[in-house]
Amino acid sequence: MLNYIWPLIILCSFIYAIISGNIENLNNSIFESLEEVITLSMTLVGTMCLWCGLMEIVKNTSIMDKMTRVLRPILVWLFPDAKNNEEAMENISMNTISNIFGLGNAATPAGIKAMESLDKSNMDKRKLSDSMMMLIVLNTTSIELIPTTVIAIRASLNALNPASIIIPIWISTIIGTLTGIISTKILIKRSKNR
C-alpha cells in the first residue's frame, strides 16, 4: 500500500510546488526533514530504553500471573465457547495481558498460539469461530496501560507534561474497545439468527 501512496505524495508535491512557485521551500524541506528525524530519534531512544527496561522487570515477576486471575471472569464472558479449552484460554489471557503492558513482542506470539488452539475446537473449519472474531477485534483495539511510545515521542518534542496524554488515551481506547466488543457480539448474534 505505502509502495504506491509514498511515491504519489512525493511526486504530487513536486508538481504542485512547480505550479505554486514553492520549489525553494520544497528543496529546503527535504534536508530539514532528515535533520528533524535525527534529533527526534536521539531523544526517543532514551525514553524507549526506560520503558523497555521496566517492562522486562514486569515480565519476570508474578504481576502477570495475578493479572490472569483478575481477568479470568471477563475473558470467560468474552469467549464463552472457549471456556473449556484450557490451552486457548491461557494463550488468550497471555495475549491480553501482554497487550495491556505494551509487550508487543509477547502479545503477538501468544495471540497466534491462541488462534491455533481455537482452531482445534472450531466446528466449522471454513469459518472464523465466535472466539476467533472476538480475539481479532480485541487485538485491533488493544488496551495499553502505559502508551510508552507516544509518551516517549512527546518527551522528545519537549511537551510540558509528556505523560498527560495517558488519560485521553485511556478514555479513547476504552470507548474503542467497548464499541468493538459490543459490535462483535451483535454481529455474532445476527449471524446465528440467520
Partner: protein, 169 residues
C-alpha cells in the same frame, strides 16, 4: 487531573520496583536487559521515520497539503474531525510505523501540547494497525469466511478516533 497524570508514571515505576524487590529479582540486570530492546526498537523505526518525514515535509512545503485540507474539510467537518488529522486517520489502519511517523510529524509541526498534537497522540496510542492485525491472525487459520470481522474492527477504530476528538476539543 494534571496532578494525577504527573503521579501516574512515578507510582508505576515504584510499584514495579517494589514487586521486583519483594520477589527477589535482579531488578537492575533485568532493567538493563530490557533497555537494550529499546535501542533496537528505536533504530528499527528510524528508516520509516526518514521515509515518512520526507514525504510529509514535501507535501507541506509545496503547499499541496493546504489545498487538500481545504478540499477535504467539507467531509471532515461532518464528523467534526480537524482536517489536519485526516492523513493520520487514513494511514493508521494500514501501517503502524507509518502512522507513528505521521503522528510524530503532526505533533512536531503543531506542538505536542496543541489541540491537534494531543488528538494525534491519542489516535496513535489508542488502537492497533487494524488491517495488519486482521491479516496476521487470519493467516494463522485456514478459513475462507471471515464473517465480516473487519466491520466491528473499523467501527471500534472510528469510535476511538471520534471520542479522542470530542474529548480534546
Amino acid at each position: 487531573m494534571n496532578y494525577i497524570s504527573t503521579m501516574i508514571i512515578p507510582i508505576i515505576i515504584s510499584i514495579i520496583l517494589l514487586v521486583g524487590l519483594k520477589e527477589k529479582k535482579k531488578v537492575y540486570d533485568l532493567f538493563i536487559d530490557g533497555a537494550k530492546e529499546g535501542v533496537k526498537v528505536t533504530f528499527r523505526l528510524f528508516p520509516t521515520l526518514i521515509g515518512i518525514f520526507l514525504a510529509i515535509h514535501m507535501l507541506r512545503s509545496s503547499g499541496l497539503i493546504d489545498f487538500l485540507s481545504n478540499v477535504l474539510s467539507n467531509v471532515t467537518n461532518l464528523f467534526n474531525i480537524p482536517s489536519e488529522i485526516l492523513p493520520l486517520a487514513i494511514i493508521k489502519p494500514i501501517s503502524g510505523s507509518g502512522s507513528m511517523a505521521i503522528a510524530t510529524d503532526i505533533m512536531a509541526h503543531f506542538g505536542p501540547d496543541s489541540n491537534i498534537g494531543m488528538i494525534a497522540a491519542t489516535i496513535m496510542g489508542s488502537s492497533e494497525t487494524t488491517f495488519y492485525v486482521i491479516a496476521l491472525y487470519m493467516s494463522v487459520v485456514k478459513v475462507k469466511d471471515s464473517r465480516k470481522v473487519v466491520i466491528p474492527a473499523i467501527i471500534a477504530d472510528l469510535a476511538s478516533i471520534i471520542s479522542a476528538v470530542i474529548f480534546l476539543s
